[in-house]
């Protein structure tokens, strides 16, 4: 299987601080790859490099979409989303709070709409396929609202939704961009157990039905272990383990990183 994204020797330095140090891993389409590690391990920095927030100090990020290859570290932020089709959600929710739920999903599809409307000029004059494209976009948005169980809230301002619904809406919005790679930064943070279980189902359906590759940052080990196909473990910016959930759980370096030397006497003293 050809990898969806190949991260090779990724390094990110901020002045004297090395947040990510020579990290390499691959993720495959139709798989969930979890990135775990203690706080400050550099997980979000990896995401920021992939989505163009930061320009990596060193390393290569190759995304294969369709039959093309994209070197993400050389692309401007919005092109990573528009051409290489990488979508992302945030640890702290970043919806367009003042816009309605439906509008949030339509913004995510605006590239197709702008082309169809002849960059608004023709659309205003009623020429071209704008009407059809807009109806298609609304249909797609509604289909996603069904899937995340928000169809009844379509016309409410996104900022008024309860926390758990906002999290689901953010994922639906990311999916409306039609991504090849979906990067989720702690999607289960702040969710109660039933909501968390629902989220797991949603992620599995995105993986299996839509065949989208998912990169997942998550602290909740029960989520990570139950839904991921592969796990990459970071500690102090370096990769310390990479493998299936079972392999990673048994890895002594991972146990040390999570529990610490002092608190794991049987590991330290033999």
């Amino acid at each position: 299987m050809t990898p969806l994204i190949e991260v090779e020797h990724l390094t990110m330095r901020f002045g004297g601080l090395t947040a990510v140090d020579d990290v390499s891993f691959t993720a495959f389409p139709g798989q969930i790859t979890a990135i775990i590690g203690p706080n400050g391990a550099g997980k979000t920095t990896v995401f920021n490099c992939i989505t163009g927030f930061y320009r990596p100090t060193e390393g290569r990020l190759t995304l294969r979409g369709g039959d093309r290859e994209y070197l993400l570290e050389r692309m401007v932020g919005f092109r990573i989303a528009a051409r290489a089709r990488v979508a992302r959600t945030f640890q702290n929710i970043r919806l367009f709070a003042g816009m309605t739920v439906l509008e949030n999903l339509l913004v995510a599809q605006h590239n197709a709409l702008m082309r169809a409307s002849g960059y608004t000029l023709l659309g205003v004059l009623g020429i071209g396929a704008y009407g059809r494209a807009e109806r298609g976009a609304v249909e797609r948005a509604r289909a996603w609202l069904e899937r995340v169980k928000l169809i009844g809230q379509a016309d409410r301002p996104a900022g008024e939704l309860p926390y758990g619904s906002q999290r689901r809406l953010e994922i639906a919005r990311a999916m409306c961009t039609g991504p090849a790679l979906l990067c989720l930064d702690e999607p289960a943070a702040g969710l109660n157990p039933p909501e968390s279980a629902e989220l797991n189902e949603l992620l599995i359906s995105i993986r299996d039905q839509d065949r989208v590759g998912i990169l997942l940052i998550e602290h909740d080990m029960s989520v990570v272990m139950s839904i991921s196909d592969r796990v990459v473990v970071l500690d102090y910016g370096r990769k310390i383990a990479d493998g299936t959930p079972a392999e990673v759980r048994a890895n002594p370096a991972v146990i040390r990183a999570y529990l610490g030397d002092e608190e794991a006497p049987e590991a330290a003293h033999g």
Binding site: A82, N111, S117, P157
Partner: protein
């Protein structure tokens, strides 16, 4: 009563012009949070462009007034939009992400540069213009006082209402408008969804400039004279209008423009025409003290 009605008509006309300029301030503020102090001079450029346009029409022998007005309007809007695009590209974009005062200073620089450019290119003397749209009709007559409405006033108000309706529709209903509102709320997130933020900002500047060109043309036709300095006062008054209505709010800009027009005209009519500017700016001070968010300036409102 008749006098009042006449002044009301004059005020609505003037207010329409202010409202159109104010939209440019408010849209740019909404999307990048800066006051574009060069906007008044963009309005002035629009006035000059339409003056040149009318001269061209006369040269080419286009004597039909409606045709000439439409042609000149399109010409002025197109050229002034190019000015708006260029100003943003040259003077503001390189400073985006810099400290807040930097683009403001740059805007003042652009304003001075545009004034001096027009002064050099067109001369410092006021340019007279005989409007193609002449005449009007008597709306109402009593006690020996005629309440008159000129065709030009009707053109101005109708055009303003049409443009404002059109722009409200674009902002509220189209993909472009959604994109502008998204950029306004969270530029980074919008770019992560594939929105070309730079292009969206450029388009916003061009839309504001095109509206200012319409205002410039109507101002020139209404007063029959234009010089390189008109943008300063008209710009500051439109800015006052935008703040009064609530900066960032599109309906607020329109409402603010009308109110400033009313205040100015009625002050001149009933008190003293020398102090009409004082009255308009006095309102700015009062608004800033007692209602800094403006009349409609709630952040959740639809704004760009």
């Amino acid at each position: 009563m008749e006098y009042f009605l006449q002044q009301l008509i004059n005020a609505v006309t003037l207010g329409s012009i202010y409202g159109l300029i104010a939209i440019g301030y408010t849209m740019v503020y909404g999307i990048i949070g800066m006051i574009n102090f060069a906007h008044g001079d963009v309005f002035m450029i629009g006035g000059f462009m339409s003056l040149i346009g009318f001269l061209l029409c006369a040269m080419l022998g286009i004597s039909s007034a409606p045709l000439a007005v439409v042609l000149v309007l399109l010409l002025a809007m197109a050229f002034t939009a190019v000015f708006g695009w260029t100003i943003e590209r040259v003077a503001y974009r390189p400073l985006r992400g810099s400290f807040r005062l930097a683009p403001l200073i740059s805007a003042i620089g652009v304003s001075i540069a545009l004034q001096n450019y027009v002064q050099l290119a067109q001369g410092a003397r006021p340019k007279p213009h005989t409007s193609l749209v002449q005449g009007g009709f008597t709306l109402y007559s009593a006690n020996g006082f005629d309440v008159r409405v000129s065709w030009l006033q009707i053109v101005i108000v109708v055009l303003t209402v049409a443009l404002m309706a059109g722009f409200t529709l674009v902002i509220g209903r189209t993909a472009l408008g959604r994109q502008q509102r998204a950029c306004e709320q969270d530029m980074k997130m919008a770019s992560l969804l594939g929105v070309n933020v730079d292009r969206t900002i450029s388009l916003t500047f061009m839309m504001g400039a095109a509206l200012a060109a319409v205002a410039g043309m109507m101002f020139m036709m209404y007063y029959g004279v234009i010089d390189f300095f008109v943008g300063f006062l008209a710009g500051i008054k439109a800015f006052t209008a935008a703040v009064l209505g609530g900066i960032g709010s599109l309906p607020g800009a329109i409402l603010g423009g009308l109110l400033i027009g009313l205040i100015e005209v009625f002050w001149a009519a009933y008190f003293s025409s020398e102090y009409k500017d004082v009255a308009a700016f006095g309102v700015l001070v009062l608004v800033l003290i007692f209602r800094p968010t403006g009349l409609l300036g709630r952040p959740e409102l639809e704004k760009v």
